[in-house]
Amino acid sequence: MTAAVIIFFVLAAIAVLGALSLIFQKHPIHSALSLIVVMVALAGLYLLMGAEFVAAVQIIVYGGAIMVLFVFVIMLLNAEAEERTDFSKLAKFAGLPLTLALLGALAAVMIRARPGVANAAHPGSLADTRALSTMLFTNFVYPFELTSFLILVAILGAIVLAQREPK
């Protein structure tokens, strides 16, 4: 057991526990906090794979900006603890088999892809900032620009929706 493997299992355990806590917590703020724990644990996993930039951006964008907005909205609405309802019939009967099917599919893919995952663990190999930006602005420049455009449209849409009705 090298240090990296131990750190991996610790971070993975934190991420899984955080995800479980996200589902089982009753209060929205506690769920949001659990989600932040998941995000930060994932950033740690990226760091372990040598993807420094992605790890930092994961914390800045997901752990910081997006989750702050979640928490902000929950605070602003002063949301109370949620009430448990009976599960829907569909969830009762189809839920468990579908979950197992998804788990099985994921496991099958992961078992097959094992060598590839092991190869990714070279610090600075492919994921350092310079290589990442070069790739983003040469090979993937059209998807990148299109995504930016999509986000811009979403921002405009939010502004239009939030605007007061003209009298």
Partner: protein, 415 residues
């Protein structure tokens, strides 16, 4: 035993560094409160603390004892877990940020069981990004404290502060892009090294990013610096952007319901954030540990001694006038120590040369800390709508323009 030490030298050294850094920073924090109260008092024609010890120098100790001994009631109806988590989170994140600040370029001349002793706890390639990640997370300390306290004032303070920090984070991050374009790296030591090549060797400080007259390009970052500095003031929740704890409107804002040491944790977090921001200002825009004088002016190396010797002598002279034990004995002892350090630096030129970079960094950091206090003493607090206007309609567009102009200058401004 020595085998264990050699094997784990890195970890042991890191722990020693962390403990040392925490000790220094917490002491500086304590005396920063004293300095701030004294400065603001003098700005407002008052004396400030002057009862506890000569010049009120023991005031931080008295405050510390008070923080530890006061009753610590937990208000009714708080969300216990989050209520206790919030100050912990605020303090832990603020202190973590210091780990990536470099305090000098060269490792110490001796080694710790084979490990070179550098003047930083950690030096990752993405130190600046890590600092921004910590800034992004530090919003939660304030937001959660406001929410969990079960109090209107706390909630309003928390909401204000969250909105403010989210708004100013954009300008804060964008204003640094100019510096990144010039240095081509996220690493703080490399950003400092990139500022060492002035166009004219006789005026080295023109190479600093704020003037941006280096050998390859002309790209002054004065606009970027102003945006960064204003946004950083807002990020640290300091006057004139301290709306989250506006006394006249919100009692004490997000920490209204916190007493005793939990309150002290917010306090220490705020002052540590001030130190981090001052370090960042010096490193990103003012050449970090680079001296403003050319290398050929060797006499400038005696500046630390020139400051320390008279200061130490003055402390001795000032101390013996007092009738208390602290004044009669401790102050002259401290003064003698300061004088001795000043004299030792003249006697050992190698040691003197070694501390030069750290001296300049600390001098710059103190200037920015002074600026923080100065702003608090002289500027009125912004109104909330003014705050939002400054953040979104002034700082954000200006820092985006700065990115575009700097990109053009870096691309076409070179030879």
């Amino acid at each position: 035993m020595s085998g264990f030490l050699t094997q784990n030298a890195f970890w042991i050294l890191t722990i020693i560094k962390v403990v040392l850094l925490l000790f220094v920073v917490l002491t500086v924090n304590a005396y920063l409160t004293w300095f701030e109260r004294k400065m603001v008092a003098h700005i407002q024609s008052r004396w400030g603390p002057h009862r506890v010890g000569p010049h009120g120098l023991l005031q931080p100790l008295a405050d510390g004892a008070k923080f530890l001994l006061k009753e610590d009631p937990t208000p009714a109806g708080v969300d216990k877990f989050v209520y206790f988590l919030a100050p912990l989170l605020a303090l832990a994140l603020a202190l973590t940020a210091l780990a990536v600040i470099p305090f000098g370029p060269d490792p110490l001349p001796f080694r710790f069981f084979g490990q070179p002793i550098s003047l930083w706890v950690s030096n990752p390639d993405i130190s600046l990004l890590i600092l921004f990640a910590i800034t992004a997370l530090s919003v939660y300390g304030v937001a959660l404290a406001g929410w969990s306290s079960n109090s209107k004032y706390s909630l309003l303070g928390g909401l204000r502060s969250t909105a403010q920090m989210v708004s100013y984070e954009l300008a804060l991050t964008l204003s640094v892009v100019g510096v990144l374009l010039m240095a081509n790296t996220f690493s703080l030591p490399k950003i400092i090294e990139a500022q060492a090549h002035s166009r004219w060797a006789i005026i080295p400080f023109l190479g600093w990013n704020i003037f941006g007259l280096s050998k390859g390009m002309i790209a002054p970052q004065i606009v970027g610096f102003l945006c960064f500095f204003i946004a950083a003031f807002a990020e640290t929740n300091r006057a004139p952007f301290d709306l989250s704890e506006a006394e006249s409107e919100l009692v004490a804002g997000f920490h209204t319901e916190y007493a005793s040491f939990k309150f002290a944790m917010f306090f220490i977090a705020e002052y540590t954030a001030m130190i981090t921001v001052s370090c960042l200002c010096s490193i990103l825009f003012f050449g970090g540990w680079l001296s403003p004088f050319p290398d050929s002016w060797t006499w400038t190396q005696y500046l630390p001694s020139v400051i320390l010797l008279p200061f130490g002598l003055w402390v001795i002279w000032d101390g013996i006038k007092y009738e208390t034990v602290f004044g009669r004995l401790v102050l002259p002892a401290v003064g003698t120590a300061i004088t001795a350090v000043g004299a030792a630096l003249i006697a050992f030129p190698q040691a003197n040369e070694f501390i030069q970079p750290t001296f300049w960094l600390v001098a710059k950091v103190f200037f920015f800390l002074f600026f923080y206090v100065w702003a608090r003493g002289t500027l009125p607090r912004l109104r909330y709508d003014q705050l939002m206007n400054v953040g979104w309609k002034l700082l954000l567009p200006v820092s985006i323009a700065n990115v575009i102009v700097t990109s053009a200058l870096v691309l076409w401004g070179g030879h």
